[in-house]
């Protein structure tokens, strides 16, 4: 009898825990998901699903959470807190309980595929200070030759946060309404974000750039450059870092360009949309200023560059006939078709490629961008002339438009 009482008590305790912390929350969550989720939710494709299995078996979830919590530090860094319906198809869940790397709930749309491949293949070539394991076994010997597993995994990464982005903004409004929680501060946090994905490395075409402290510390900048940039741009800035081979377009040759200060600052703050060049909005401004100084010092190797003589007539004519729709009338990269290109055309007022670089751009094009080779359409003389012309447009740090 006593045994019976004890066993019943024990089983009741256990059952109570399952009901209180398992069954009831599940019911509440199911109701939430029905009310707040979009009517039709995209499921994962077969490839994305297989990628999920790779993610699971490699224990990515033990260094990366997939759960933006309702706390300000999380939201500032990653974006909108995770709603229940977002993980509705996660069998089993991979929320994770430890972050050695950042949360990945909003990773989709944060980095382009070539970055993901290069990073998975050899993380320290892309991020020299990383401790993420290399997953070279998902590749056939090079970052741009993923195996099926590798391709599937990156396909899966691109789904993280995708459903929420796709559903927005109607989805957000609907969820907010269905939430019935106007006074619930915590629940409201899910809808406070201007952008669902707040990742500081997500590149964007334009965006306000904060004013930098005037003089950057070049020595500190070079150290930062070694820690953050050398993997792609190479130790000397020649665009030949260990990760460069897998990236399309390849990282710029920083030692063969002159850049206006604000151009570098803008590039660092916003990244280069459409390329693997990340934004660095999480870096303190003095570090950005230091990096700007460092990048400028890489390009000061002017002795190897021919002085730019002022463009002659032929150059201007070739340019006007062939280049304006992209690079813009004044060379500011704002031609009428520029906006429709995945990667913005070069702004020659702010960026001066060395002679050799510009020549190569015209003879070979820039792989991975809409800049095609011109050798079939322009004569050698035309090319030489237009190269001189575009280089003469550079205004450096002077006010844009001075010509």
């Amino acid at each position: 009898m006593a045994y019976l009482v004890a066993s019943v008590a024990g089983v009741v305790f256990f059952a109570m825990s399952v009901v209180l912390l398992g069954v009831l929350p599940t019911r509440a969550l199911n109701a939430d998901m029905r009310a707040m989720g979009p009517a039709k939710l995209p499921t994962l494709t077969a490839s994305e699903q297989r990628g999920r299995i790779v993610y699971a078996r490699e224990g990515c979830a033990y260094c990366h959470t997939q759960q933006v919590r309702y706390v300000h530090a999380d939201m500032a860094r990653f974006g909108a807190p995770t709603l229940a319906w977002e993980t509705q198809f996660d069998f089993p869940q991979m929320w994770g309980t430890r972050r050695i790397g950042p949360d990945l709930a909003r990773e989709g749309g944060t980095r382009p595929d070539d970055w993901q491949f290069a990073h998975l293949y050899a993380p320290r070539t892309v991020v020299p200070l990383s401790v993420m394991p290399s997953y070279a076994s998902l590749f056939d010997g090079a970052a741009n030759q993923p195996t099926n597993d590798g391709r599937d995994l990156v396909a899966y990464l691109s789904t993280l946060g995708r459903a929420r982005e796709l559903a927005a903004p109607e989805g957000e409004a609907r969820a907010r309404e269905a939430c019935h929680c106007p006074d619930d501060e915590m629940a409201q946090m899910a809808f406070e974000m201007k952008e669902l994905n707040a990742h500081p490395a997500r590149a964007r075409r334009t965006g306000p750039v904060p004013a930098l402290p005037s003089a950057g510390d070049r020595a500190a900048g070079l150290q930062l450059y070694a820690n953050y940039c050398a993997g792609c741009h190479g130790a000397t800035g020649a665009g030949d870092g260990p990760a460069a081979a897998g990236l399309r377009p390849r990282p710029s040759n920083l030692s063969a360009h002159r850049y206006a200060t604000d151009r570098i600052a803008e590039t660092l703050w916003n990244g280069v949309a459409g390329t693997s060049m990340p934004a660095w909005r999480d870096q303190p401004l003095d570090r950005i200023a230091a990096l700007v100084a460092a990048v400028q010092s890489l390009g000061q190797n002017a002795s190897v560059d021919e002085a730019s003589r002022s463009g002659d007539d032929l150059g201007a004519r070739v340019y006007a006939a062939n280049c304006v729709q992209c690079h813009g009338e004044r060379g500011a990269g704002d031609g009428f078709s520029a906006a429709s290109l995945a990667i913005a055309p070069t702004n020659f007022l702010k960026q001066q490629p060395f002679q050799s670089v510009a020549l190569r751009a015209l003879t070979s094009g820039i792989d991975g961008t809409s800049m095609a080779p011109w050798t079939s359409r322009l004569s050698e003389a035309d090319i030489t002339a237009v190269v001189h012309y575009v280089r003469s447009l550079y205004t450096g740090d002077a006010k844009e438009g001075r010509r």
């Binding site: 256990f14 398992g22 009831l24 490699e58 919590r69 929320w95 430890r98 290399s134």
Partner: protein, 461 residues
Amino acid sequence: MNDTPSDTARPAALAIDTQLIRAHGLAAIVTLLIAATFGIVASLQLIDPGLTGDVTWLSWGRLRFAHTQGIMFAWLGNAFFAFLYHAVPILTGRPVTSARLGRWLFGLWNFAVIMPGWILVLAGISQPLEWAEFPLVVDAVVVIALLLAIVQFLPPFFSRGIEHLYVSSWYIIGALIFTALAYPMGNLVPELVPGASGAAFSGLWIHDAVGLYVTPLALAVIYFVIPASTRRPIYSHFLSMLGFWLLFFLYPLNGTHHYVFSVIPMSAQLTAIAASTLLGVDVVIVVANLLLSVRGSGVFPRDAGLRFVIMSTIFYLIVSVQGSLQAQMSINQAVHFTDWVIGHSHLAMLGFASFAAAGGLAHAWQRLPIARYNERAISWAFWLMLVGVLVMVIDLTAAGIVESALWRSGAPWLDSVVAARPYWIVRSLSAIPIVAGFVALWIGLTTGPDADVRARTTVAS
């Protein structure tokens, strides 16, 4: 009313296959060294990520799975089984069900759960659920093994009146039954219930693994070894039973505290937080009762078995109070996801549980007629493990505070990775005393005089 275990209560007729004690004890130590090696290699990979090249079997995530599953099933499982073979006959005055069943259980546990479990997760067949990484095929064997363990160990208790049950017996009965119930829930339900709801069930299991399997068995050891070594009854049987019932009431209700500030309904989060807070109170009761029972023996008594369990009790207090604090929203907000929590789990599994398991082994071994026992080595094991655990836990706790501060400051993510590095190095270094302690434990259980010699010297002195 309760039969306090004593040294003399082991009638020769009950000498259940001591082979099983030895087999599980040695399996425990061997697998402990293997499981620790997985952890150490994983920790070194955080210092030198290229350490093991591109060998997929030794990839960080897979080692992480093998490490924790190994500690939980292989080391603690075997050590607790060894202890049960020693304790159950003494507690009940009856033999366990069958020596043959014992050999099956041993074989199943080691060669159908641990070995294949390790091989499969390292080969990439696993589930990404914390404390449940072995794949479902292995889980099925685990459930069978747990049922066999119930058949093996519980009938002796039931064939005796409940009024004779000592508190260790309660814990043993509770642990075996509730692990068998909770295990399938934690391993299977998240495969069937997605996302947030799945996480709610995972949270339940993460805490049940600690609260219904590890903790009760470790407490069973402690409650057993203290009176048996000091030859004095436990301070208060009432407090013992109060602690027992509160534990089984509160522990399962802790689960959702692993997901505070998540989308899981606030009512569940708050329930878990409240239960976590009360659990701290319960543990204070349990520990006070235990420490009052050993007063007069000193914190570091000569008998290494007793010394291990006293230290385990102290760790239990610290880790539980820490757990209650971590569940509070303000602290959870700061330390969740950091190394602080890794420090907490090592304090629980390596401090509290492993010290209890080692104490149980040392205690049983001294009383094994056929085993060698090296007192000095066991004593070394104690000190080495103690130093190692303290260094590791203090170090990881500090690392967690640093990581948390950097995350909240909005600094670049990599700053927190770089800042953690010195702490990770110290953590890896702490493995030296810890593993030396494990090796000393092994030496202590395999060298030294055998029981006959020990008996003679005791008589002579």
